[in-house]
Amino acid sequence: MKSFIAALLFAVIAAVAVAMLLNTVQRPSSVAFTTSGARVGDPGHNLTGPV
């Protein structure tokens, strides 16, 4: 049972850690793909754009 609980905790902690890491390393598409010649709008949380 201890192994099971430890595995659950590790999975959650690892997932959160990866999410934080990726959010630090990666940039939103609206920032990453904006150049001097093209501005990409911020889609927000909905990838199809503002409702």
Binding site: K2, S3, A7, A11, A14, A15, V16, A32, F33, T35
Partner: protein, 334 residues
Amino acid sequence: MSKTISSLKAVCAAVLLLAFALPASAQLSFKPTAQAVHEDQLLNALKEGDKITGRVSIPDAMASSLIQPAGREWRDFQRHKLPIIGGVVLLGTLALLAIFFAVRGRIPLEHGFSGVKLLRFASYERFIHWLTATCFIILGLSGLNISFGRALILPLFGAEAFASMTAWGKLAHNYLAFPFMFGVAVMFLVWIKDNFPNRLDWRWIREGGGLLRNGKHPPATRFNTGQKGMFWIVVVFGALMSVSGWFLLFPYLPANVTTLQFWTIIHAVIAMLFIAAIFGHIYIGTIGMEGAFDAMGTGEVDLNWAKEHHSIWAEEQQGHAPSPAGAPRAMPAE
């Protein structure tokens, strides 16, 4: 007279109109504008591998693909063929397991519990198993929701609940993929030494692993042929799911859209087969065989269970007792 002149003008006008109208109607038998804008004809005119591309100034080069007919086949597969294939594989596996259980019943421990325990899996082995297993279950459920949720769950819970559930499932799927990949890699390193095929495997296969009737148990080392098969399924399918999933997580890594579509299909098809295989694993580890769950539950199995299903391993463990802490050893039940 004037009436005659008017009639003559009318006839001339009609002749002239006819004279110009005929070539015009002949030209209009081919209507380039009307046909060119017809999307289906345009797409059908493109051969396999063709695509219409443009020029973009943003760093995402894949955005330059405007029309790619192969995308329709991919969409058709994802929306229509995959749910059918997946449904048949998953429901078929469950049906086969149910029939097997109805016919064979729970495989009993023929000589009963001896009360003597053998440590089968150390705590770190159980940890890595449950880490991979719990991640797999969440990944599997959230993945199945992508294929079947719209048809099965949306009508039950409504659009808002389904949208929230799917969004959270997507987040869980994206990030629990990492501990899952870690778990598969560690399991591979920890257990590969016990999972190479040997001469006993052929005998195990010929005797049906002792699963088909009572009183017959082919000898096996730490892992029998069925368990070795499951190990390699997890390793190979896990690797394929990891590579394909990596491309889905980072969709700008593949060279083009076609490659990305290829990996999405690999991801989806292997997922269905993987889940079906794990159905079998869960079955035999829980209700299918008496005493089997203890191996991953407490880490200890009964000596009689070990003798019946892993006779060579049981003899090795008894011969080595008492062993150093952390290593498999025989111990009395508490």
